[in-house]
């Protein structure tokens, strides 16, 4: 801490202690001070009584695959589709299910087999498509949940549902709930960071809405800080042109002296908080550039993430950033990578999309393992729904083959942080159309993630508009069988 600031805080501390024997002012200031004294890893913020029980995971990296990866081409091998290639998918399977307007009116729904080869991998024998060789390589670290389902058929509501528990914007996102409940373990970096990237071909026009990492009705300080893909990762991080660090330091010292006069005159604890926030801003001006400086990473590690790792704004870059963030105490890192919405370009785009994401995703898991962080870091990989096992488009026009949105069953994998490694959970039916065994609803998934972090999802609530809201609404069951 800078001397001037320390002095200011001490003054203010004396100021409070001097005038109040006990009580709120003292308690508040004491907690403010305590943050500087406690041993690492220090927790900053969070609710008393949380976690509810010993957590398996202390932090989360969510690799959200925006646009919905096709489960039947990547993880959920269905030989039945090959057998029935081109045949109408039976009505007894579809059961009048609703689809987006893109195929809602399509009368012909021919079975479309996996477009590439599948094989079993690792000791666990998990089925993974050959589009994902690196993911196949970490199969024994992962739990593939193959029976997820959702109720939303369009992107934005489905993503909102996954990340906030409700299809309409307005609720806090998972990361906001976690930082609200558990606080964070860094004073130099945000507790909740969101980063976005997209496929190189820009094949889809989906947008990253800020409510995907929003704080809803929680105070806005819990919203994810969006690290940008160009320029300063944090908005307004750099001093204006021409202002040196020396000049800024001097200015902040003077600011601190003047504010201290105000604090003495008004006695408002918010003034003391503001003074410490300006100091934290100053520290962030060095901690964030340090964070994004990969020069000390071993070449071997950089290679693992692939050639894109040095390109700011790429998925690979963001994956390495995620590791560096959690290393430094960030609680929740949410990556969103778009480009999985293959309505008409399954045969042309899926492979490229996999190439962009496969190595970095696997590298992240390996890298965390290398550093001993995987045990208490939960990594999640998955999209907002799956894709139809039947064809969207004309079966004769191979180049324009596609699959439509499919909320009824899909696959998500998780690794580390208290997840049973080398397992699969749940099954879809022979067509990959609906869960056949152990269905997992989005709210169950959310309850499980909270559980891994030591939170009873029914007890982490916030009263808004007269109601105690929670991430899982009024639903959700912890999927115990995937816990280590």
């Amino acid at each position: 801490m800078h001397p001037a600031h320390e002095r200011a805080l001490l003054l203010s501390r004396r100021h409070f202690f001097g005038r109040t024997a006990t009580g709120i002012g003292t308690a508040a200031l004491a907690s403010l001070m305590a943050r500087d004294a406690s041993a690492a890893p220090k927790r900053v913020g969070g609710l008393p009584g949380l976690p509810h029980f010993a957590p398996k995971a202390k932090r989360v990296i969510y690799l959200f695959q925006n646009g919905a990866p096709t489960h039947v081409d990547l993880f959920d091998y269905k030989p039945e589709l090959t057998k029935r290639k081109g045949e109408q998918i039976p009505d007894s399977v579809v059961k009048g299910a609703r689809f987006s307007t893109m195929t809602g009116g399509q009368a012909v729904r021919p079975c479309l087999p996996n477009i590439t080869k599948f094989a079993q991998h690792g000791k666990s024998g998990a089925w993974v498509s050959d589009f994902l060789p690196h993911t196949a390589g970490i199969a024994d670290d992962c739990c593939f949940v193959k029976s997820l389902y959702t109720t939303q058929v369009n992107h934005a509501p489905a993503i909102c549902f996954f990340l906030t528990g409700a299809e309409m914007p307005g609720r806090p996102s998972l990361g906001a709930w976690l930082t609200y409940g558990l606080g964070t373990e860094t004073e130099e970096l945000p507790g909740f960071v969101a980063m976005t990237s997209r496929d190189k071909e820009a094949s889809c026009g989906q947008i990253f809405y800020d409510f995907y990492w929003g704080s809803g009705f929680l105070p806005t300080k819990f919203q994810g800080v969006k690290f940008r893909g160009q320029g300063d990762p944090v908005l307004y991080l750099s001093n204006p042109d021409g202002q040196s660090r020396e000049s800024r330091r001097a200015a902040l010292d003077d600011l601190s002296k003047l504010n201290d006069l105000t604090l003495k005159e008004f006695g408002d604890p918010e003034t003391a908080t503001r003074m410490s926030q300006y100091e934290m801003a100053y520290r962030m001006q060095t901690s964030v550039p340090e964070l994004t400086d990969f020069s000390k990473e071993p070449q071997k590690v950089l290679d693992m993430y692939g050639p894109d790792v040095k390109r700011q704004g790429s998925f690979a870059f963001n994956c390495l950033m995620a590791r560096r963030l959690v290393e430094r105490g960030t609680r929740f890192v949410q990556l969103l990578h778009a480009g999985w919405d293959q309505h008409r370009n399954l045969n042309t785009q899926l492979k490229i999309q996999c190439q962009d994401t496969d190595a970095p995703s696997a590298a992240l898991v390996k890298d965390l393992k290398r550093l001993g962080l995987l045990d208490d870091t939960l990594v999640i990989w998955g999209g907002e729904f799956g894709r139809t096992p039947f064809l969207q488009g004309d079966i004769k026009d191979v180049k324009s083959w596609g699959r439509d949105h499919h909320p009824y069953v899909f696959t998500v994998w998780m690794a580390g942080g208290g997840i049973k490694p080398g397992t699969s959970y749940g099954e879809s039916d022979d067509f990959g159309f609906a869960p056949a065994k152990d269905p997992v609803h989005v709210h169950d998934f959310q309850a499980t993630v909270l559980h891994l972090l030591g939170i009873d999802h029914e007890k982490l609530t916030f009263r808004f508009q007269g109601r105690d809201f929670r991430l899982t609404d009024v639903h959700g069951h912890v999927v115990k069988d995937i816990l280590a």
């Binding site: 002012g25 987006s100 300080k221 300063d232 307004y236 991080l237 918010e270 926030q277 934290m280 508009q465």
Partner: protein, 826 residues
């Protein structure tokens, strides 16, 4: 990232407590407990009701053995709270709900005292309470507000702070009423004026300022989820800003709040509705529009109507209808049927939900006077030419009609004939091409004239195109049937409902036999019998000036909402507001001229401990300004502010790539130049999927928001230290300081401080600032190129005659001043 106050508030403040009033009041003391702990399973929602037991209805709850009136010990309700058999414990442990000892005591006392039943306080029409007669020299009384506030303070044995010093007071009230700081001339005039009504005179001046409407509009735009784009994928632009300007005008003209209400909800349905009244209904069309491919139109349409109904419910009634979209409300007596009856009023629009246009009909065209003038001029230029060309074309057609061999029009090919048959102002480009080609050789004069017509027609079209189209309300001639939906799913229709107001408020007296419209809803909302509207409204204005409403949950006046801190004051203000014919300026004047508002904001140790959130109002309001006001203040202090009122939104500085990144490059931010950079924040273009980055802690403008949050994070510090907006303001302020602030560092420091804070600095402050200037001067003297770079931030020109080192040093000091706690706070 700590926020101390929010953590503390819950501990220190309890609404009018039991302590000095042993008599249990059902609505105040009992209903909140029942609602919070029991209604989940024994409340209005039929679907989740257990044991067929209702505790929200008198007849059911007071039936023995549930409640044995007068005998708490025999009442099952009480027994179940501490049963012998733990399995009988209520609420069940699984619910995570538990009654405190005090709550159990309250329930027992209530039953023993006779179990009087009553209604939730906010659902009972307010009656004007007697103004307490407080005669105590310690409590200054400026108007009845103070009588109520003082009575409570006296009871709590808390002494109020004295009136704030004049400099702080004029700054506070000017920021609150106009969103801008006072000029130094205004401060000086006030300091000089020692008449007893000097302050009241300032208030009157501010209420007449056009800045007042701009300031009041901001909160309303948050509530109305106003934005300049649609949101969602595509996020197409819309031109709703004439509606925004309507709001500014309405506040400035002091349109009575009942009219303000009726016109926005249903101005289109008023007899002989004017264009302004139709424009007002744009309120309802400010919702997001989803143009995502694959969306089902009806699903969108229903979402829009949900949003319209819920927004009106929150803004005017302070009720949270959202829950009832899927099921009967768990706590409030709002059934799913009530919800869909409210929905039905809005379910009559011709909007079908398809497409992503931000100008979906019904729309009205509302130009600025210049735009209208331009369009009229273009139209009349076209009309003149049409008059000239018509006889010529008449002749051509007649000539053709005479034809040869009695075959009329044989000489004109079909496309040419078709083009001629159209009015010249309605012709398409191919029409014009056909004519020009056909008559090129035979009628060169005509073709020349025709080219002129074509240009005039294009000019007219362009002028018409530039006139903004505002989405407004209209009802279908043939009413659309409304059904309740199962779990809010538009595909699953249940029973049919007709428009109507919630049953709990009783059937309205209006037109029982006629199908009700939005106009009936609006009139019911502002009827003096409505128990909620006036309370909800005065509470929101109170929140505007004190930071927290008398009811803290300004969005929820239902059973689960917070009780008012000063129930009688709230009711007195509500009745006063209605009886003063919904005069908003009267209400605002009452609040800001009260002694409670005028107090010093100094927090004594005792107050900090006993009332950290200032709910008892022993001190004046002091909290961080909203980000929009911080920016406006910096522009005003630096002299950069452009005072233009209204018009299309502007695009000031924003870091590169914000829109591009959020929209995959589909939307490019074209920063404006010149004066547009210095317009008030109200006019900044609001892209819904990624709002202006300069406004932290701002409402999302995605759904209705009637309460903003104030947090304190390092990201805010980075914004006000590094955003070019503030750096440029500091540079411009430094220039003013050098040009007008005197010659010595001390004089300049004092001048700068005063521009930033509206106050004369103390000696110790001047000392700190002088040493700051010296330090910065030595830093920039050692690096001239740094000074040059810093002085290039921002596009406003700089006085090149000023010494660059001095100017840069003062710029840093001014930037420091703009970041003072005292400047960021009101």
């Amino acid at each position: 990232m700590l926020r101390l106050l929010s953590v503390l508030s819950a501990l220190a403040f309890a609404p009018a407590a039991l302590a000095d009033d042993k008599r249990v009041d059902f609505a105040r003391d009992v209903l909140p407990i029942l609602s919070d702990k029991c209604f989940q399973c024994h409340g209005p929602d039929e679907k989740t009701r257990r044991a067929d037991l209702r505790l929200d209805i008198k007849e059911e709850a007071l039936k023995p053995p549930v409640v044995v009136v007068g005998k708490a010990a025999e009442s099952e309700l009480v027994k179940r709270l501490a049963p012998e058999d733990p399995k009988e414990l209520m609420p069940p442990p699984k619910s995570n709900k538990k009654l405190s000892a005090a709550e159990i005591a309250t329930l027992k006392a209530w039953i023993d005292q006779g179990a009087a039943w009553g209604q939730h306080w906010a659902f009972v029409k307010p009656v004007r309470p007697a103004v307490p007669d407080v005669r105590d020299a310690r409590f200054p009384i400026k108007n009845p507000i103070d009588a109520f506030v003082s009575q409570r303070l006296a009871r709590e044995k808390l002494a109020p702070q004295p009136e704030a010093d004049k400099e702080r007071l004029i700054r506070r009230v000017t920021l609150d009423l106009t969103g801008l700081p006072p000029t130094l001339g205004e401060v000086d005039a006030f300091l000089k004026d020692d008449t007893p009504t000097a302050y009241e005179a300032v208030v009157e001046r501010l209420l007449k300022s056009p800045r007042y409407g701009e300031r009041m509009a901001w909160d309303w735009l948050d509530a109305a989820r106003y934005a300049d784009s649609n949101g969602y994928q595509g996020d197409g632009e819309r031109t709703m800003w004439p509606w925004r300007d309507w709001v500014v005008r309405a506040f400035n003209d002091n349109v009575p709040y009942d009219r303000f209400t009726v016109e926005q909800i249903a101005g289109d349905l008023l007899p002989n509705a004017t264009k302004e009244q139709a424009l007002a209904t744009g309120f309802n069309r400010n919702h997001m529009i989803n143009g995502e491919g694959g969306r089902i139109a009806e699903e969108n349409r229903v979402e829009y109507v949900f949003d319209q109904a819920e927004t009106v419910g929150t803004v005017w009634l302070g009720l949270t209808f959202t829950c009832s979209r899927c099921h009967d409300h768990k706590f409030d007596p709002l059934s799913k049927r009530d919800y869909f009856r409210l929905f039905a009023y809005f379910n009559q629009s011709p909007v079908n939900g398809g497409g992503g246009s931000g100008q979906q009909p019904p729309v009205i065209e509302v130009g600025t006077p210049e735009q209208e003038q331009k369009r009229r001029a273009a139209q009349s230029a076209l009309d003149d030419l049409v008059l000239k060309v018509t006889p010529v074309e008449q002749r051509l057609r007649e000539a053709a009609a005479k034809g040869k061999d009695g075959k009329p029009e044989a000489l004109l090919p079909q496309p040419v004939d078709a083009a001629l048959r159209k009015g010249p102002g309605d012709r398409t480009d191919p029409n014009f091409d056909e004519l020009a080609k056909h008559f090129k050789n035979a009628e060169p004069e005509y073709v020349k004239l025709l080219a002129e017509v074509r240009r005039a027609k294009q000019a007219r079209d362009a002028a018409a195109q530039s006139v903004p189209k505002v989405m407004v309300m209209a009802d279908l001639l043939q009413p659309r049937e409304t059904f309740m939906y199962t779990r809010g799913d538009y595909q699953k229709k249940e029973g049919k409902v007709v428009p109507g107001t919630p049953a709990v408020f009783g059937a309205g007296p209006w037109l029982p036999a006629v199908r009700e419209t939005r106009l009936d809803l609006a009139r019911w909302i502002v009827s003096p019998d409505n128990p909620l509207t006036a309370r909800v409204t005065v509470n929101r204005f109170w929140q505007t000036f004190f930071g927290t409403g008398l009811v803290k949950t300004s969005e929820d006046f239902g059973v689960q909402g917070e009780r008012p801190s000063h129930p009688e004051l709230l009711d007195w203000l509500a009745v006063e507001f209605v009886e003063a014919k919904w005069d908003v300026k009267h209400l605002v004047r009452l609040i800001v001229t009260s002694a409670a508002y005028r107090r010093s904001a100094v927090v004594t140790a005792e107050l900090r401990e006993r009332d950290p959130d200032n709910r008892l109002l022993a001190r004046g309001p002091r909290y961080r300004l909203p980000a929009w006001a911080i920016r406006d203040q910096a522009l005003a202090a630096s002299g950069l502010l452009t005072p233009t009122v209204g018009g299309p939104p502007v695009k000031p500085y924003q870091p590169a790539g914000i829109w591009e990144e959020a929209t995959f490059g589909n939307k490019r931010y074209q920063q404006d130049k010149g004066e547009a950079l210095y317009r008030r924040s109200l006019y900044v273009f609001w892209r819904r999927i990624v709002g202006p980055t300069m406004f932290f802690d701002a409402a999302s403008r995605q759904t209705c928001s009637v309460k903003s949050t104030t947090t304190n994070t390092p990201l805010h510090a980075l914004a006000t230290l590094n955003d070019p907006t503030y750096v440029e303001a500091a540079r411009a302020l430094a220039q003013l300081v050098m040009e007008q602030g005197g010659a010595t560092d001390a004089e300049r420091a004092a001048f700068a401080y005063r521009r930033a804070t509206c106050r004369k600095p103390s000696e110790s402050q001047v000392k700190i600032l002088v040493s700051a200037v010296e330090k910065q001067r030595s830093i920039f003297a050692a690096d001239k190129s740094a000074a040059a770079k810093l002085l290039k931030v921002g596009e406003s020109p700089r006085n090149e005659k000023l010494d660059a080192t001095d100017h840069a040093a003062l710029t840093v000091v001014c930037l420091t001043l703009l970041n003072l706690d005292e400047v960021l706070n009101k």
